[in-house]
């Protein structure tokens, strides 16, 4: 499903060169729930961004869903990201000026789905995360756990093959974190969605199929 071949990422300024990722080789088969752990600054989020085609590697190649990505700024890559990938972020990234339903509809907006179908699909996604009664609320009216469930609904509304979650439980207490984790596990087991999750929490990582550890940009386990 995702194949990283000697992926390196180097950030360069006039005076400093920082290696964020160093020749990472990783293969994530379809339906796997993989977690990535490591200390802060080890390159976890960078790796996730590269898998999500949000960032371009300095070196190496990447194959996602059987497709090799060449031009990261092209319309095709945007379309690919829209149809194959779903994102969940630690800080939710909900648009404060849009209602819960409108936030969940967002990915469909770039897919030419009719307004009626968008509403139906977004409502179904919200129902699957247990927030059907919060459609017209605004993000500021929700708790942290509810916000993250909205973000999950937004990630799954377009039925992506892969979900990339960057510390989805990082801003939540353990009860809410477990709720979110249960939803992700259910998505993986019931829908066969491939999930790659970055986490700091060992207990959450243990609930996944496989754990990859990074240290200073290199894969150590």
């Amino acid at each position: 499903m995702i194949k990283l071949n000697k992926i390196s990422k180097v950030y360069r300024t006039k005076t400093i060169e920082t290696t964020a990722l160093n020749e990472i080789d990783l293969h994530i088969p379809k339906g796997e729930f993989l977690s990535i752990m490591g200390p802060s600054g080890c390159g976890k989020s960078t790796l996730l961004n590269i898998m999500g085609l949000l960032d371009e590697p300095s070196d190496g190649s990447i194959l996602v869903s059987g497709q090799s990505i060449k031009n990261y700024a092209s319309r095709e890559t945007s379309k690919f990201r829209n149809q194959k990938l779903g994102f969940i972020f630690q800080s939710f990234h909900l648009i404060p000026d849009l209602s819960v339903l409108d936030n969940v509809e967002l990915p469909l907006l770039y897919r030419n789905v009719s307004s009626k179908d968008r509403k139906q699909m977004a409502s179904a996604a919200l129902e699957s995360v247990g927030l059907a009664n919060r459609k017209s609320h605004f993000p500021s009216q929700l708790s942290g756990g509810q916000k993250q469930r909205v973000a999950i609904a937004r990630a799954i509304v377009g039925n992506p093959e892969i979900i990339l979650a960057d510390e989805p439980t990082g801003n939540l207490d353990s009860v809410m974190g477990n709720e979110v984790m249960d939803i992700l596990t259910k998505l993986n087991t019931q829908n066969g969605t491939t999930i790659v999750m970055v986490t700091h929490d060992e207990s959450m990582a243990k609930k996944t199929h496989r754990l990859v550890r990074l240290y200073d940009g290199s894969q150590v386990a």
Partner: protein, 387 residues
């Protein structure tokens, strides 16, 4: 997408209202300034009805100090002396109501069964040839008309259009300071100036008398200004006074127009300054908004928006806001022609609405383009990480 953008605008109506108000007020100011500009340009583009090229004018301040008999004799001598000069083709005497001098005489009557108000312009028989008036109906004055019992008059087309439209009035008699018989209609005689409206005007034939202090001279071709000295000396000698001024109608026309142009240019300058301020304000607000919404931009890119979608979204946001503000402006502006608030032509206001709308949209698109393109260049990985 339009519905989505509209929702975004509506949910931020508090902060968007100020920007919409700024655009609305700019539209209104622009509408009034453009209406004033078009109004004056329309007048400038209308025919004056007479020629100013190669027409000179002598202003004689001392003629009204002579007694009436002496004035008539002096003016007749002056005319004879002037016409004898090979440089001069035609000579016409007028009162103080001369082209571009700012003097006017108005009269009115309701003796004809309706209110008639008109400009009066005392003329002699030679004005037609001197300034090249265009007779569109009937004829111009002859010397014999001075002896007619019922005074003949010539009017301009604006007079006919206002008081006797759609019928031939030649040889008809009406009352205006006594009985008058209409013998001719001229195209136009806007002697007040280029920015003056076309008004009903009566050209009244007048014999020589002491108030005829202005002489119009049709020159034979482009006579050098050195001829002024000879003309000046001849005039001084004939009327025994040195308080005479020689000028040209071209010069007087330019001088008269400049005063109006100064006001127009000043208004345009103020309006231009306002537009620049609005543009800078819009640019600043958009730039600030985009920086505040970096994570939203990154998120949209992560969810599948291409950079063109991001640019389109921001431009669409400001265009919709402008549409609302300008729409409100048009609603108020269009009341002026619809409710006939003024007697000016409706087309003037419709043109101003159209051009104000175009200018505002052009201004807004120009200001929105750069920040919107910059927004599309934001790296999603960076902006999502910043929050």
């Amino acid at each position: 997408m339009i519905k989505h953008v509209f929702k975004l605008l509506w949910n931020k109506k508090g902060s968007n209202a100020l920007m919409a108000l700024e655009i609305f007020l700019s539209f209104i100011v622009l509408f009034f300034v453009l209406s004033y500009l078009f109004f004056n340009l329309d007048r400038v583009n209308q025919t004056l009805g007479f020629e100013t090229e190669n027409v000179w004018m002598i202003e004689m301040d001392a003629i009204d100090k002579l007694d009436s008999l002496e004035a008539v004799t002096t003016l007749q001598n002056l005319k004879r002396n002037l016409i004898n000069l090979k440089e001069i083709e035609s000579v016409s005497f007028t009162e103080s109501i001369a082209p571009f001098k700012g003097n006017q005489w108005r009269t009115g009557t309701d003796d004809n069964g309706f209110n008639m108000n008109t400009l009066m312009c005392p003329v002699d028989t030679d004005l037609l040839a001197t300034v090249g008036l265009n007779v569109v109906q009937g004829r111009w004055y002859t010397e014999e008309d001075l002896n007619e019992t019922i005074k003949p008059i010539v009017v301009n087309q604006a007079f006919i259009d206002r008081y006797y439209p759609d019928k031939s009035m030649i040889d008809s008699i009406f009352i205006l300071n006594g009985d008058r018989r209409l013998i001719g209609v001229i195209d136009e005689y806007r002697y007040i100036g280029e920015f003056a409206d076309s008004e009903p005007t009566v050209m009244e034939l007048t014999d020589y008398f002491q108030n005829m202090g202005n002489v119009l001279l049709k020159m034979k071709g482009d006579i050098p200004t050195s001829f002024e000295e000879e003309l000046y000396n001849l005039t001084n000698t004939t009327i025994k006074s040195t308080s005479n001024t020689i000028t040209t109608l071209e010069y007087e026309r330019a001088k008269d127009s400049n005063e109006s142009w100064v006001l127009i240019v000043a208004l345009l300058f103020i309006c231009g300054f306002l537009c620049i301020n609005v543009a800078l304000g819009l640019f600043g607000v958009l730039w600030y908004n985009i920086n505040k919404r970096r994570s939203e931009i990154g998120l949209r890119q992560a969810l599948g928006a291409h950079s063109i979608d991001i640019t389109k979204q921001f431009i669409l946001e400001i265009l919709l806001l402008t549409l609302l503000a300008v729409g409100l402006g048009i609603f108020f502006a269009i009341q002026i022609p619809l409710l006939k608030v003024t007697e000016y032509p409706d087309s003037l206001f419709y043109r101003s609405i159209l051009f104000s709308t175009l200018i505002i949209f052009l201004l807004v698109i120009t200001c929105a383009l750069f920040p919107s393109v910059q927004a599309a260049r934001i790296s999603p990985a960076d902006s999502l990480h910043e929050d």
